[in-house]
């Protein structure tokens, strides 16, 4: 029996390389700024799917509240960009004046400084995940209860931000008037520059996540997905491992949140909507939660399909998506990537046994085959 190509590390890395080369080729073919902006937005969604795959697929932590990190970071970024349009003579964003605030609220003050603002946009959600995660995991909250708790926390933040109308502009959200100005240049959201920033960060987070899952840490995390009690008896601090993987996935979602606001110049409580967070889980679920690239492709496929069909068929599309998701959960718990794994496994089984039971595949040769799938 030959080894399943799906599990071959060289083949995996080759596929990743091919995928990112394809993404890198896009600006050469797309000159329309609007379309390029849309592709970059898909990149952000891909990053969210990646973060879900890391947390749910590898850690077994079903996080239905990933919008917490995404939304908090998005608000931080929007506040930073908003303050770039204000100055000492006119320190109040227009919506605050409309809500009859006299002074800039104290928690807006740090966002005067762009660098500091972006750091805050990343640190606040990450810290939130550390605290919330360690609270939950040390109490040994597990399985479906984590899903409910993250959902409850998400709803709580949603209502809070809605409620703080004078400070967050409530349901209307914040729309910074100008593009992000950083390192001496403007990042026009419709430019190739913005696309390359998203590309670089998607590449960085994907490679880091891939390396993480292959490390010893990643193996322990996958072990506790299977049986946390056994891992605990082996002497590992399960809560610590869970908190760390949960936080890393939160950090990736936070980066995605910042990039998203950079691209669309807008944020509203809708980013904390329960439906949006569960949509992320659907991307990863359909694409394949046990495969980082599978989850990414799931996000690209579903969001691509959604905007291709347009708003006219949105209701039908969501109906079909729900139905398809039910089928995937019922018959393909590992998503489309799991289907590929099965097919490649069958191919491997059918190949003649060349050199006995401990046959090792010729990695580079197979890798070429994999890239042609």
């Amino acid at each position: 029996m030959t080894k399943n190509l799906f599990h071959d590390k060289t083949a995996q890395w080759t596929i990743y390389a091919v995928f990112f080369l394809c993404l890198a080729a896009i600006p050469a073919f797309v000159s329309d700024g609007f379309l390029l902006n849309q592709f970059a937005t898909y990149g952000v969604y891909a990053m969210l799917a990646l973060s879900i795959s890391l947390c749910w697929g590898f850690g077994g932590i079903l996080n239905l509240g990933q919008g917490i990190a995404f939304g908090l970071a998005a608000y931080g970024m929007a506040m930073t960009m908003q303050m770039q349009s204000q100055d000492a003579s006119n320190p109040l964003p227009p919506f605050m004046a409309n809500n009859s605030l006299e002074q800039l609220p104290f928690f807006w003050e740090p966002f005067w400084n762009t660098g500091f603002g972006i750091v805050l946009a990343l640190v606040v959600p990450t810290l939130f995940y550390v605290i919330f995660g360690s609270l939950m995991f040390r109490a040994r909250v597990s399985g479906p209860f984590i899903a409910i708790m993250t959902l409850a926390m998400l709803s709580a933040l949603y209502t809070l931000i809605l409620d703080m109308q004078p400070y967050t502009n409530g349901v209307n959200g914040i729309s910074p008037p100008a593009a992000l100005h950083i390192f001496g240049t403007d990042i026009d959201p419709y430019s190739t520059k913005a696309y390359w920033i998203v590309f670089a960060l998607l590449l960085l987070t994907t490679v880091a996540s891939k390396l993480l899952t292959q490390s010893k840490f990643g193996l322990v995390v996958q072990a506790l997905r299977g049986d946390p009690e056994r891992v605990r008896f082996l002497g590992y601090n399960v809560a610590l491992y869970e908190t760390v993987i949960y936080t890393i996935s939160g950090l990736i979602a936070a980066i995605a949140g910042c990039l998203w606001v950079m691209l669309v110049q807008y944020v509203s409580p809708a980013q904390f909507d329960v439906t949006f967070s569960i949509t992320m889980v659907i991307w990863a679920g359909i694409g394949g939660r046990l495969s980082l690239l599978g989850a990414i492709l799931g996000a690209l496929m579903i969001q691509g399909g959604q905007s291709y069909l347009g708003d006219q068929f949105l209701n039908t599309w969501l109906l079909l998506l729900g139905g398809f998701f039910i089928l995937v959960v019922r018959f393909l718990p590992r998503g489309l990537a799991g289907l590929l794994e099965k097919v490649l496994g069958m191919v491997a089984d059918r190949q003649p046994r060349e050199s006995g039971p401990i046959a090792r595949p010729l990695a580079p040769h197979h890798a070429v085959g994999a890239s042609e799938k």
Binding site: G143, A147, A152
Partner: protein
């Protein structure tokens, strides 16, 4: 600390009871399904919504009186629940996370299906005139319908307790809950117990939805407004009937008191945070059934 009058405290407490009864009737179907079958039913909110639409259709197209809409919603939504259990849920009993996701898919399909059938514009369920008036208790004013909801919830709880603790079926359910294999070896058809319980839970949700159709407007998305509270009641209560009654009473009163001191939305935020902290110390809820750790 603002000056708090005695009257407004009493008012808040009575309002809290009313909120509690609404959350309890929303949560009771979920409690039964979670407590017995162990399924986290994400489509629960949509079962509520279906109940509301059932009443709307029966009332506006067939002229059924409101009080008959309640049992009719129960029957219709229980039948839908039965189909979903037979067609999907029963294959996923040993995969709790997957049932959660699959039922989310179900909820998406139900919501979009209703939206395509009935459109996104709001519908209304009307009640007899006697329910539309208000009653004064000294300094507290409450609508008759809210009192009806309170009484109805109490009756449903009593009925459910009777079903689960005083009938042969209830004994079978509790036997299956305690030990499925043992119960099966005594000749109880566990599969059928699960099926029936799921259908009853769905039906109760449908009946609650009929009430919510009166309390608020009927929309395809109306279920999501109640489902998070319903989940929290179940989680805080630990999945037992008594637990859900206590949890809804507690959370309803807290919500009402916090709302008196600030406003509705901030009260909800505070309540959610408190519940998360509470679960840190009692992860299995108020009245946790002592279960052997796996």
């Amino acid at each position: 600390m603002p000056h708090i009058e005695f009257a407004s405290v009493v008012n808040a407490l009575i309002l809290g009871l009313s909120i509690a009864s609404i959350w309890l009737i929303a949560a009771i179907g979920l409690t039964i399904i979670y407590g017995t079958v162990g399924v986290i039913n994400m489509a629960h909110g949509e079962f509520l919504m279906l109940g509301a639409y059932t009443s709307y259709v029966l009332q506006s197209f067939f002229g059924l009186p409101f009080l008959l809409c309640l049992p009719a919603s129960f029957i219709v939504v229980a039948a839908i629940g039965l189909v979903i259990e037979r067609g999907l849920i029963r294959y996923l009993y040993n995969r709790p996370l997957d049932t959660l996701l699959a039922t989310w898919g179900v909820s998406l399909v139900l919501m979009q299906g209703v939206r395509i059938l009935f459109g996104s514009d709001p519908k209304y369920v009307s009640v007899p005139e006697i329910f539309q008036s208000n009653v004064e208790f000294g300094f507290v004013s409450l609508s008759v319908f809210r009192i009806f909801v309170f009484g109805f919830t109490a009756a449903v709880v009593a009925g459910t307790v009777y079903l689960f603790y005083r009938t042969r079926f209830g004994m079978q359910v509790r036997a299956v809950m305690q030990n499925k294999e043992m119960a099966a070896s005594f000749g109880i058809n566990a599969d059928r117990v699960y099926m029936t319980t799921f259908a009853i839970g769905a039906g109760l949700a449908g009946m609650a939805g009929c009430l919510f159709g009166v309390l608020a407007i009927v929309l395809p998305t109306m279920g999501t407004a109640y489902v998070v509270q319903a989940f929290l009641v179940v989680v805080v209560g630990g999945g037992t009937l008594v637990g859900s009654v206590a949890a809804s009473g507690l959370t309803g009163e807290l919500q009402s008191i916090f709302a008196m001191l600030s406003n509705d939305t901030f009260a909800r935020f505070l309540l959610y945070v408190l519940i998360v902290v509470f679960l840190r110390f009692r992860p299995r809820g108020l009245f946790a059934v002592a279960k052997a750790r796996r």
